[in-house]
């Protein structure tokens, strides 16, 4: 088996066996990302596409706009509000999913071994269910004639349906709904490894429940918390389907704004620059995450 010079052939075989996967990924995942970066510094084409002339226009238009008549430069308020909305909604989604996710993960992890698999399965189904279907589902609930409004009116709590659909609230509700499993699963993994005797030790040393949570549980499951927050924050920031379906045309997030540049906006360099920005934000978050988790957990 290990007859050849070990080190060399190991690496060679490793690369050789990985080559088909790498080719596919370079062709249809990693490689095209580089093209995006290149397109971001080209000149916009007349209708769509680009002209192969170097230009900073794409990047410039990320934050600024130029008046077509007097050429004065000003901050692009529309863009800024989209960035702000994306950021605000992503943070809010992360916080709310955490508020629901921690108790849920805790609940699953503390079930008896037999029923735990069942509860875990209940979380996995929405996790693997088509995002679009889940978005439809929440849409059904919050639409003007949906069950939420019908229910509230039935009990006389409101007299008119409240308009939730096509507002930021709808987008927030939708993202919270679709990304909740992404928060629960890493938290569950962390709590599942947690040694519950530590809580006994905490109580033994006169800690209150709150102190045990703050002082014992949260610090120990911190890697899981960071993982969950990253896993929710990143797709929220790049969300496309949920804001499109629940936010209507006006309540765009970065993802929809990018799409707009490749569709009606016909400004590929701007779209490419926006994509690059989004990619960089994500990479920085991931870097922070790896740093944080390797510091918390030097062995793993």
């Amino acid at each position: 088996m290990s007859r050849q010079t070990p080190g060399r052939s190991k690496g060679l075989n490793g690369w050789l066996l990985s080559t088909p996967a790498l080719i596919l990924l370079l062709l249809a995942a990693s490689g095209p990302l580089l093209i995006v970066a290149v397109y971001s510094v080209l000149e916009k084409g007349d209708y769509s596409g680009v002209r192969w002339i170097l230009s900073g226009e794409g990047w410039f238009r990320v934050l600024f706009e130029k008046d077509i008549f007097d050429h004065t430069i000003s901050l692009a308020d529309a863009n800024l509000s989209i960035f702000w909305r994306s950021f605000k909604l992503s943070i809010a989604t992360t916080v709310i999913t955490f508020a629901f996710g921690l108790p849920t993960a805790w609940f699953i992890a503390t079930r008896p071994a037999k029923s735990r698999a069942f509860w875990l399965f209940l979380i996995t189904i929405p996790f693997w269910t088509n995002l679009l279907i889940r978005t439809f589902a929440i849409m059904e609930v919050i639409r003007n004639q949906g069950i939420l409004n019908t229910f509230l009116m039935h009990f006389g709590l409101i007299s008119e349906p409240i308009q939730i659909l096509y507002t930021d609230t709808a987008v927030l509700m939708g993202m919270t709904y679709v990304y909740l499993p992404l928060m629960v699963l890493p938290l569950y993994a962390a709590i599942d490894r947690f040694d519950f005797r530590l809580i006994e030790a905490g109580y033994d040393l006169y800690a209150s429940r709150w102190q045990v949570l703050r002082g014992v549980i949260l610090p120990i499951i911190k890697p899981g918390i960071i993982a969950g927050c990253i896993l929710v924050f990143i797709p929220s920031l790049g969300a496309y389907v949920t804001p499109r379906v629940l936010g209507g045309g006006k309540n765009m997030m970065i993802g929809n704004f990018i799409e707009l540049q490749f569709g009606q906006g016909q400004n590929w360099p701007l779209g490419a620059a926006l994509s690059t920005v989004l990619l960089l934000v994500v990479l920085v978050s991931l870097l922070v995450y790896t740093r944080a988790s390797s510091r918390d957990n030097p062995n793993g």
Binding site: M1, P6, G7, K10, G11, G14, W15, L16, L17, S18, P20, A21, L22, L24, L25, A28, S30, P32, L33, I35, V36, F100, G101, P103, T104, W106, F107, I108, A117, L122, I125, W128, T129, N130, L131, L132, I133, R134, F136, A137, I138, E140, V141, Q145, L180, E200, Y203, P235, L237, G238, Y240, V241, R244, V245, I258, E259, G271, S275, L278, V282
Partner: protein
């Protein structure tokens, strides 16, 4: 006494209530969607008795039929291709100890999980649109290629996990018993790895079947899959037909997941 103590340790105030609430909130919309797909009425707003009419309507709709066929073709190809290359990569990266460049391979393989899907979608739009112009080909190949690449990490992870749980003495024993490297792979490694491969293929299948964003950007005109068809329907009035299609897809997902759990459980 003991019971009371166990209760104290693992229960935190309000957690159970919030957890139950979370489960209810998670399932209420899905259940509503499923129930309304059996609505006998003509509008999405009123319950008109139990009926399968929307399933019948969806099944007779040619656009739905085409989209379903397309979705399945792409998902089958994508899961076969991604599982094959992911299996090879998993064998390459786990069975032979550490080697130079392993981290690079990991990063590239897991890249689709890290990059926001919209960015991948845009990059593929740019890339494939030039390729389409250059080659004149605009068939399903682009979607299959994009889906295959995107599914690789989903297939790779369970296969890798399985391989890491298998120690190499099995292969050593096979070699001792006159199995050539190929025979050893064929009669020992592969059968032992099979649950991981099946699990990986199932996940890849689901991921491909559900994909919206990349498909939306890569598809040429008239290449709708079920999810992009449903997304397109949203521009018009919402009909229970979409609910019916969603429910059918949901059913398929649950079925595959149940099989997945069964396959992974049975072998451990």
């Amino acid at each position: 006494m003991a019971k009371r103590r166990a209760f104290d340790v693992t229960t935190l105030p309000g957690f159970t209530t919030i957890a139950i609430l979370a489960f209810v909130l998670l399932y209420a919309p899905i259940v509503t969607l499923v129930i309304y797909s059996f609505n006998g009425g003509n509008s999405v707003n009123q319950w008109g008795g139990f009926s399968l009419q929307w399933y019948a309507i969806a099944a007779q709709n040619e656009a739905v039929q085409d989209a379903t066929a397309r979705s399945l073709i792409i998902a089958v190809w994508a899961s076969v291709i991604s599982t094959t290359v992911a299996t090879m990569a998993a064998l390459g990266t786990t069975r032979r100890g550490k080697f130079k460049g392993q981290t690079i391979i990991y990063v590239i393989i897991n890249q689709p999980l890290m990059v926001p899907e919209i960015v991948t979608a845009v990059s593929l739009l740019i890339f494939f649109s030039s390729v389409k112009v250059a080659t004149g080909y605009s068939g399903l190949g682009y979607l299959i290629l994009a889906h295959s690449a995107f599914c690789i990490p989903f297939a790779y992870l369970p296969i890798k996990a399985r391989l890491e749980g298998m120690d190499t003495t099995m292969e050593t024993a096979a070699a001792d018993l006159y199995a050539t490297p190929w025979q050893s792979f064929r009669y020992v490694t592969l059968p032992l790895l099979l649950p991981g491969v099946i699990a990986g293929a199932m996940l890849a299948f689901i991921i491909s079947l559900d994909n919206v964003i990349i498909t939306e950007f890569v598809k040429s005109a008239g290449q709708d899959t079920l999810p992009t068809y449903m997304l397109g329907q949203l521009r018009r009035a919402l009909t229970p037909e979409v609910n019916a299609i969603s429910t059918a897809l949901l059913g398929l997902t649950v079925l595959i997941l149940t099989l997945f759990v069964f396959v992974t459980k049975k072998w451990d």
